[in-house]
Subunit: 220 residues, 2 copies
């Protein structure tokens, strides 16, 4: 394994971390704008997403070149395969942040529905899942990755609660239908962000241990 | 390029087509069950999805082994990278079919909302996009892949219409809120299926031409 090999591998990991940092920023802007009703924050989400999309293509290109030139094996090959998938997840996470920004802007143009406590709780959890998934990736920390899988259950539970509460709200106050539907859609976006963080965690476990824990395939 | 190389590559392509066939079947069952109000069709969706999940892991394993042993270059390497991504898309398409099955079952337990004409139109389009994306993959047909990208715009338009119409319906008839929300969620699932077919089409263009047309990067 020569210096060129290690330097290119580090470069790819560092590109993923930069992209992950952008996703964290986009999510922060989207959530903060939503909670504090500051619609200018949504504009930043769109700007950051453009950078994520550019990086998305660059990372794929870097992986293709690395595979062609360096022919990595064993753990290094698992890492590159995982990077190809994590790259896709990060790009889709950017899309979800943009969806929150679009829906959030719609929401601000309608009747506010008071405190969105469960949505805020969901976003705190998802924010932590995203951060932890990137920390787990950089440290190849299988233990932390497994904790993310557990957090996802709580995100799913909260999404179910938001769906139920806001459907009931619509039935009681049909004039709020559009605002309530926005809240439901944002809960769905947050759930999807949690799913993507879970995918990254599963990839980290695969890189670190060689175990494919997807679809209940955990042998621990 | 030896016979072993070609045989393994064919095997991987054939695994993707089998998986794609399962996705088509799952989608058919979900849509037919929904339109003809036959909830037993939803059960088949769950059974097919289990097979998709098993294949998902097998395809990734086959790609990893192929990369490690055969060290493909140029177009063959682009094909394997695309297969890794298409594999993920197909698995997520299975998830979307399962989501339709769950929501469809809920929908049947509530007040029916009459003909779901736009949802049916969406499903016809999405069904064609999925079939065409797999045909384009097997034939490396860039032209067909480009047609899929255009169909996606119509799917998005119809989803917007379903969202608008059924939100208005909720405001007029709040007692139908749950059923109408089910329809909205199924429209979202169909839209996502269209997005995944679009991803596959973009990958086909990349394999065939080396051009990365994602994020508006089309140089044609």
């Amino acid at each position: 394994m020569n210096r060129q090999f290690l330097s290119e591998l580090d470069q790819i990991k560092s590109q993923i971390l930069t992209m992950g940092g952008c996703v964290e920023q986009a999510l922060d802007h989207a959530i903060q704008a939503l909670i504090h009703r500051q619609s200018h924050g949504f504009q930043s989400v769109h700007e950051i997403e453009k950078k994520i999309n550019t990086d998305h293509k660059l990372v794929d290109e870097a992986c293709l070149n690395f595979l062609a030139k360096q022919g990595p094996k064993a753990k290094d090959l698992r890492l590159i395969m995982s990077v190809i998938k994590i790259n896709t997840d990060l790009e889709r996470m950017g899309d979800q942040c943009v969806n929150i920004a679009y829906t959030g802007r719609d929401y601000f143009s309608r009747t506010a529905l008071g405190e969105l406590r469960d949505l805020e709780l969901m976003s705190i959890l998802v924010r932590k899942m995203v951060k932890d998934s990137l920390d787990a990736f950089v440290r190849e920390d299988e233990k932390l990755a497994r904790e993310i899988l557990l957090m996802d259950d709580e995100v799913d539970r909260l999404k179910g609660k938001v769906f139920k509460d806001f459907t009931a709200h619509i039935q009681k106050s049909p004039q709020d239908a559009e605002s309530a539907l926005d809240v439901i859609l944002i809960a769905r976006n947050l759930e999807r962000l949690g799913d993507h963080a879970t995918n990254i965690a599963e990839d980290v476990i695969f890189v670190a241990s060689g175990k494919d824990v997807r679809h209940g395939g955990d042998q621990q």
